[in-house]
Amino acid sequence: MSSLLVAIIVVPFVVAVVTYFVPFRVSKVLTVGSGSITFGLSVALIPTAAHHAQVTAGGLLRVDALSVVFLVASTFLYAATAVFAAGYLHLGRGAAGNRYGRRFYAGLNLFCWSMAAVPLVNGLALLWVAIEITTVLSALLVAIDDTDGATEASWKYLLIASLGLGVALLATIIMYYAGTTVFGTAYDLSYTKLLAGASHFPPDVVRLSFVLAVLGFGTKMGLFPVHTWLPDAHSEAPTPVSALLSGSLLAVSFYAILRYFQIAERTLGPVFPRNVLLLFGIASLLLAALYLLSQRDLKRLLAYSSVEHMGILAIGMSFGVPIAVVGVLLHVLAHAAAKGTAFFGAGSVIRKYATKDMANIRGGIGALPWSGPMLVAAVLALSAMPPFGIFRSEFLIVSGGLSDPRDTVAALLVILVTIAFFGLSWFTTQTMLSPDPDPTTRGGTGAIAVAKGEVSIWIVVSMVIGLVALVILGVHLPSQLSQLLDRAASELGSPR
């Protein structure tokens, strides 16, 4: 089993190096292969992680049920995005296009490698290192299009995320100090050790470390008020990168917060960590729901939807009921699939209409006979419509929240999610379900008339993959996966 962990770390890295040297046509195939292999290896870990405590490789790699959930989410999106990118990239002929393609594929594979590494590494220190690597790699990918917007977005992203990680580093060091009171001055920050000793740590120190960690890693996760880089980076990055940022980067940052949550819960009891997450979660959800009502840019709309869903994750953890925690973990998986699919659809629309401005996009369903309806389905999935996975996960979260004495929070959650649903569905119906623009009246509306037909078969395939996953998560959870989620939820629960 431990060789699986090593393989998940090695395969994408090797492929990333190779893709830098081979023509990008070969890279397309290699990346799809690498994504599928890593996803397959992660799925192979599910049965073990669902039944045994942990799998380790050396002292550096370790997975338990919690990490496998996030590993599966990020490698699934790696595979799906690899398929999508094969259809999305339009490279100019000649040296410039070739150079862009090589950089893009090397960067994409490295980025996915770093995100797979986050749940695999053992210990808070290596966790911080892995997340810092995801930041710098993704900042380069945001800048790769070399437009004014991309440069601005990547600078803001790099600076704000680095500051957040500076705070998170302080959190790591303070948590290390908390550990020295039990383990002596020299020890490694491995999870097993920290979780075993956590109940004897000094509470004030752990409290400080937890708040700093939520603030620091919350910057990468897109929690209010440190989310400001997120809409810019998501809208200016190449669309495959946007999908990865939204579906897996935010999720692995949430994973980091959960690791601190696990320790803080053992030291401080459940109330304090839950309240911190509740505060950030409500604020993020409120902000996102309101911003969703006033977007013109298709990718910014999806970006604010990510802030919304990260808020839901934080609120779901604050309920602290096992059923809500299972819902949160399922939500991570379903959000990765749904947001990925929505961005793939958005990529198809953007290629077709050559604009992100939703005022100029009309009749999407007529122009894109396959990806148009599937984009609508993905947006409905994001708004928690059955039969998709997010319906099930939000249902679990809300029903957990209603069993909590503070059930007003669950009610507030439902209201804010409804506002967000309104914003998302309003713009989607406007752009996708409207009649085809008539070329003769074009000057009045600004809508762009386009020929009917798909951009690429690869995009359609990637969206089918995402929707199938969403339906599986929503209709019938495979029993192994369900056991995995239960086990991960119990790992997150306080042993007391």
């Binding site: 220190a125 290596l126 911080w128 290192v129 810092e132 690597i133 930041t135 710098v136 900042a139 380069l140 800048a143 070399d146 004014d148 917007g149 440069t151 601005e152 977005a153 990547s154 600078w155 803001k156 790099l158 600076l159 680095s162 500051l163 500076g166 705070v167 580093l169 302080l170 060091i173 303070i174 290390y176 100090y177 020295t180 002596g184 001055t185 020299a186 020890y187 490694d188 920050l189 004030d204 120190v205 400080l208 809409p231 810019d232 809208s235 200016e236 911003y291 006033s294 977007q295 910014r300």
Partner: protein, 221 residues
């Protein structure tokens, strides 16, 4: 416990205060070049503090760390940034959003907050006096002020690197036993971050022909 600080505690506190004062000096430095030099000096103090802790507490791994951090933060980073500055042909730091005097006042305010907030935690460390931890927290907060109120990419990047210096002091105080592999990983990360900061600064300069961030206001809402 004696109220007269030992020589050891005195040296450590002095070093930490020097790091904080350098941060203030960066805040008021009008030339980008002097900011980079101040950063190099600050990193030198941090490396020296690491050697000092290594020698007095007999933690041999810290010597390696001090050497690596000297090479990276005193030699490599300033050289890279100064080279970028020569290419960019820009001398003056972006004018701060508020006046210099207000900026210093804000910085004094936040550093006092950081100092007393962390001081009230009563963290006890065997490696260094805990007042050094409070001073390190103050340094981190002043670095935030520098980044938020300055409007050019070099000041902001240097602000981030100096924030890392503040965290390094904190880690010397409370986490001097951190395994070497982890410390080296941290430094390696910083190296990668420096390279990426450099790349994006270069891209920014290439597009706008300036180091100022005043034009970075297109993306909103």
């Amino acid at each position: 416990m004696s109220h007269v600080p030992s020589t050891y505690a005195g040296v450590a506190d002095t070093a930490a205060v020097l790091v904080l004062l350098t941060e203030f000096a960066m805040l008021r430095a009008p030339l980008l070049r002097s900011q980079v030099r101040l950063y190099a000096f600050q990193s030198l103090v941090v490396s020296a503090l690491a050697v000092f802790v290594a020698a007095s507490r007999h933690i041999d791994e810290l010597y390696v760390l001090a050497l690596l951090s000297f090479l990276l933060k005193v030699v490599l980073v300033p050289t890279l940034v100064l080279r970028l500055l020569r290419g960019a042909d820009a001398d003056l730091a972006g004018s701060p959003v508020v006046g210099m005097a207000s900026m210093i006042l804000i910085a004094i305010g936040v550093s006092a907050f950081g100092f007393f907030a962390v001081g009230s935690l009563h963290v006890h460390s065997v490696a260094l006096p805990t007042s050094a931890l409070a001073i390190a927290a103050a340094t981190v907060l002043v670095a935030f002020v520098l980044i938020i109120l300055r409007s050019d990419v070099v000041s902001q990047a240097i602000g981030f690197f100096s924030l890392e210096n503040g965290v390094s002091v904190a880690s010397l105080v409370v986490a001097s036993g951190l395994p070497l592999v982890v410390e080296v990983a941290f430094l390696f990360d910083l190296l990668v971050a420096v390279v990426v900061f450099g790349v994006i600064m270069r891209v920014h300069h290439g597009r706008t022909n300036t180091l100022s961030t005043d034009e970075l206001d297109r993306l909103k809402g």
